[in-house]
Symmetry: C2
Subunit: 364 residues, 2 copies
């Protein structure tokens, strides 16, 4: 059985890494009984498609934008192309979304409603920005909708929480540090680096979004927390989260990155004071996302908190992420690298494995 | 679709907990589109079977040994019974092995070879005591052979390592503390409790095997380590493990538990000295299982080691288990409760979920 895939966002950072991993590690992988076959690639404007599968060279040329490729009108046009393929019995098709596009909810829904195709997504928006009913419709068949990369890609927490629901366990508390970028900045502050310098360092290492505001406003962490709460079966929305951004909102008005970076220098002393105050009590600062419960209702919050230096979250270093999930089964804790390109691409490929019907492990 | 299950070992500690969890949480669970139906239960001598499913009362009566039930001659006899059932299209059958029986390898093999049934096992023996070729045959279809409970039940490390193989990542190091019993004893030693007293406390809390020798000889840890290495694709056997038991082998000759407990009092001072020596360097003692690599060949070892008190394994407390898996994707660390009855039974039920074809999450 062949697993055909179509990758949208194939020229982005994750997309390029994913194409190169599939080309190098999956296409000729003798360990795979069910090979992955790339039949389509798309950027925001161009695409490349062949129902018989694309060659390595063509895949790499496309993802590296080495040539000009055909334009397309809409994603629906691509979908119609894939729908029209006569598939061999048992062959499957998975759409991979590694874009960060917001208005793609309807496209995901259309695939779930109108086809038997699967989706693997690293894009959190369809899960976090849709209403709860839509969220439920998207994820209802775990074998068709893989979204492990949306929250701590390598940690498997989505599977864990889906399972807890189905074995009738109840979530008591979920708490974690989900932003590799903010984790890195806070680690630097502990090493006496000034806030504005730590931020520049994070930008230099490629840890931040194109505009670092999009990390510091906490919205990305909020989307992850919301996806966890919804996966646990709670009808919650972004507005239900008590979100305190890492820095005051007034700074987010600076659209030009240089002006933004200049303005946040004002915060250097404020963070220095916070760090000193924390140190005096043996504490460190962590940006913590939390789902707790009051009268069986979930309370979602995200804020900068002081925690003991030797506590599980306090001992976290650099870009690492960590989560604790407390349920009737005790506390499950995972520490894993904050989503980087390699980890994200590898876990998209793990989600593809989960969608293989009759997956077999090769003897070797 | 109904998932029919037959539980062997149903009157044991895990078996009783499992039956009660299924009866309370799965049978009438409206969250389950695919209900679990217990059609058979067996102890080492008796069984109860009905192809239409057993009632709650009958299940509980059997697992609590409340009445006398029919005798059976061999497991093969039970297997023939199940084979003869006319199943509805889509219905599936899973055998659940919660025994600790050693000579059950052929029975597992027969199920894999002669039927399309699934197996979920908490019994490590078929995986650790078979030859490597047999191991590979047993696990080749992840959707038919669930063994997450064999190593750190709640931690999902088996899935993780299976996936690493299939995405062509390579294991660099695996290191962990896998014995809740030994973890508990070492934690007590740190609190100045004498070794023989700590052992008695562990027995009192029900943490040990019937004869505590079976925890202290490290064999259980060795089986887990072997299963991890084999899951990674390495042809290794028990004799390839450099295993240092927690206490010298001569004590294991005492078959009577009282004599054994008396004899190990000799070790109180030896452990005291070890603890003091470790403390002087800021260290603690941990019983660590490790897979490392030399020239791409795995080296398996298990021994008591000194590690810094604030290190990831040094900070572990009580019966908790922890594992670090280092691969090309970075370090993945999980901390989870050492297999207790509740956790084991819950994770057998998670393995059942993994074997559901067309599993659906209910909207709620």
């Amino acid at each position: 059985m062949i697993q055909n895939v179509f990758i949208i966002g194939a020229t982005g950072k994750v997309g390029r890494e994913l194409v190169s991993q599939i080309v190098e590690k999956d296409l000729d992988n003798k360990k795979h009984i069910n090979p992955t076959r790339i039949i389509g690639l798309a950027s925001s404007s161009n695409f490349l498609f062949s129902e018989k599968g694309l060659s390595k060279e063509n895949c790499l040329d496309f993802s590296e934008r080495k040539r000009n490729f055909e334009k397309y009108g809409s994603l629906d046009e691509l979908l119609e192309m894939v729908k029209s393929i006569k598939r061999d019995e048992g062959d499957s098709f998975v759409l991979i979304d590694v874009t960060a596009v917001k208005n793609i909810i309807d496209f995901h829904l259309k695939i779930i409603r109108e086809t038997d195709f699967g989706i693997v997504t690293a894009n959190k928006n369809p899960l976090a920005l849709s209403d709860y009913k839509t969220f439920q419709e998207l994820i209802k068949e775990p074998s068709r909708y893989g979204y492990r990369c949306s929250v701590m890609a390598g940690a498997g927490v989505i599977d864990y929480i889906q399972d807890l629901r189905d074995v009738t366990d109840h979530l008591e508390l979920t708490e974690g540090c989900f932003s590799g970028t903010i984790g890195f900045i806070l680690s630097e502050l502990e090493n006496s680096v000034e806030f504005s310098e730590a931020l520049k360092k994070a930008i230099g290492k490629g840890y931040t979004e194109p505009h670092p505001r999009d990390d510091l406003n906490g919205l990305d962490v909020a989307k992850k927390l919301l996806i966890l709460a919804r996966t646990s079966g709670y009808n919650v929305n972004m507005k239900d989260i008590r979100l305190l951004p890492l820095i005051p909102e007034k700074y987010f008005n600076y659209d030009k990155i240089n002006e933004f970076l200049d303005s946040v220098k004002e915060l250097d002393n404020i963070f220095l004071e916070k760090i000193i105050k924390a140190k005096e009590s043996g504490n460190v600062l962590r940006y913590i996302a939390r789902i707790s419960f009051e009268n069986n209702l979930p309370k979602l919050s995200i804020s900068l908190r002081e925690v003991p230096k030797n506590s599980p979250l306090g001992s976290l270093k650099g870009t690492l992420n960590k989560i604790h999930i407390v349920s009737g089964a005790g506390t499950y804790s995972v520490k894993a690298p904050g989503a980087g390109l390699k980890i994200t691409a590898q876990n998209i490929r793990r989600d593809l494995l989960q969608q293989l019907k009759g997956r077999k492990l090769i003897e070797y």
